[in-house]
Symmetry: C2
Subunit: 384 residues, 2 copies
Amino acid sequence: MAGLYPREFLAIPGPTPVPDAVLEAIARHPIGHRTPDFSKMLMSVVEDLQWLGQTKNDVFVLTASGTGAMEAAIANIVSPGDVVVSLVCGNFSERWAKIAQSYGAAVERIVVEPGKPYAVDALRTRLQADKDKTIKAVTITHNETATGVINDLGTIASLVKAHGAISIVDAVTSFGACNVPIDEFGVDVLVCGSQKALMLPPGLAVIFFSERAWKANAECRSPRFYFDLKKYKKSIGEKTTPFTPNVSLVAGLQASLAMMKQEGMGPIFVRHERMKKALRAGLTAMGLELFVGEDAASPTITAIIPPHGLTVDSIRKSLKERFKIMVADGQEELKGKIFRIGHMGYVFDRDVLMVLSALEAVLTDLGHTCKPGAAVKAASSLSK
Amino acid sequence: MAGLYPREFLAIPGPTPVPDAVLEAIARHPIGHRTPDFSKMLMSVVEDLQWLGQTKNDVFVLTASGTGAMEAAIANIVSPGDVVVSLVCGNFSERWAKIAQSYGAAVERIVVEPGKPYAVDALRTRLQADKDKTIKAVTITHNETATGVINDLGTIASLVKAHGAISIVDAVTSFGACNVPIDEFGVDVLVCGSQKALMLPPGLAVIFFSERAWKANAECRSPRFYFDLKKYKKSIGEKTTPFTPNVSLVAGLQASLAMMKQEGMGPIFVRHERMKKALRAGLTAMGLELFVGEDAASPTITAIIPPHGLTVDSIRKSLKERFKIMVADGQEELKGKIFRIGHMGYVFDRDVLMVLSALEAVLTDLGHTCKPGAAVKAASSLSK
């Protein structure tokens, strides 16, 4: 039994582990938000987010979860009747389509089966066929949290840019874990959340907004107030926010971004890539089937098909009860079909070994035959 | 000089002081939000909020600041073209009108000059004249944060209910500080924020939603997704939230509501009323002019006109530099004309004496003549 003492280890796709230094920053008594001290904090966060996104685009911090920033993206770009192409490879990319439909867009989905990356060729064909340039925006989920697929954002964003449509990107579970050079990729709107690779509790979202996005925004007729980015743009010019921000989480974000600058962008991305490979090697050595092929494997989330005869529930329950390690079920039609391990943000090589070891113990108990130590051996050979 | 050590004392209208027990709850490592532990926490918060609001209405916790909940209220009730009557007595009640306009409503304002409470008779006349029942909703700010005015919510809500329109109420700076019996008043939609009398940092908002509000919601055509309350209703049936919530602040809210239950609703309301009276008596004894008359004086925010010859800036700056006490300027057209002291939530009689004493010291320095000790004497005689 895990006992009373150990903290839950969050090997789910979010919330993710939060460093003590960040918890300490959040635990400090909030300061007033209309003060020079808060302005200084906010502007440091803006600067560091632009550093991480390798961009000169505007960036705004919203007091909301990631879906709030997704809604902000749509409400500030898409008007009723606009044609929106939604690339769909899972539950979270489908969310873009649903939000755009809520705002009255004519949504065209380009769907692939779960576990596969986007059909880039189908998008290319659709964009080329759009001679009249009726497509207003293309929605893209960089890293599909529901399946653990990473899409080729660079290629997709450049196709969209060449067409002239606005690229709207969910980078919730990729930003801060792998390279997302916003300006180089030519991404127009990009959103992410606090509780992923940014190493914070949930409650903040971030949205990047390009010059081209502002031009589209000028024509946008959708209603908005709390998520009206023009208000954020005006306020950031005065080093503040239009509405009371979550000052505690902004302080936490300042602390986590400072840690990320200290580690360095390159080492962070290499660490995530290495953990992904080590984890996948370990899982494979345990005789488990991975849901996503090597080419599209996410650096932050790995989905596994349970061994024949074992249920996702029993595996999750045993990991929680024996080790207080939390992994996630599949969502919607994938519920019970896969389980998902998150490995982003404040997660290190030793955590990968821990999760593999615990999984080996649990699967063995449940009757799955795995060669003792094979997983750790395979993973550790890649953890260098 | 205040020196380096003391924590800022937030005598602004929010964020307000946060108890250590609440900071400690927030500082704990976040737990997963799709777990029985989080469900238990969320349902305890829902139950305690219903206790505080004395209501059986649905209540939802949104990861957003108060304005987000205001937008949720409008987006879930008001469709383009609907007639909305907005009672306006300051900057925050004006915000309701602006949000409703963003959503395409035909907004009729009933405006009074800042510092005065709503014109209840004018509302009564307008509602009586509306024989065809074209008015869809009436927006009301219970406690106007911009001026320190409290409005007669009971009377106003009953007029609106008798007419058949939906009452939409901002109780951001009243809920948890004074009596807001939602069912007895017949209020349909009521919003509040975390960083006020609920004694939390900013980042959460709460919205109560009545049966009549649901009926109106069924006809509402405004676009919404993150703030779509039907999604929250469905999720709360499963003891969860539709989107990742700020689990840390929900833990904090559980802790602060536990404290409020321990103190008791009656004692909390009496404490706020007593502090208001003591503060006003002290300020008057100092020869200061109060911006709002006794009848409409807010239990949580007091606005003061600076003595002749002194600027709001100089008073705020001195309080901050000498004592690290933060008070607020006026907003918009009241900027520089009044300063505002917040006294809600985790604030006690001794804090009122502290603020009065510090203000006496500062005003004396700046050249205002006040009888030494008169303020504390007047206040303390009421602080029993």
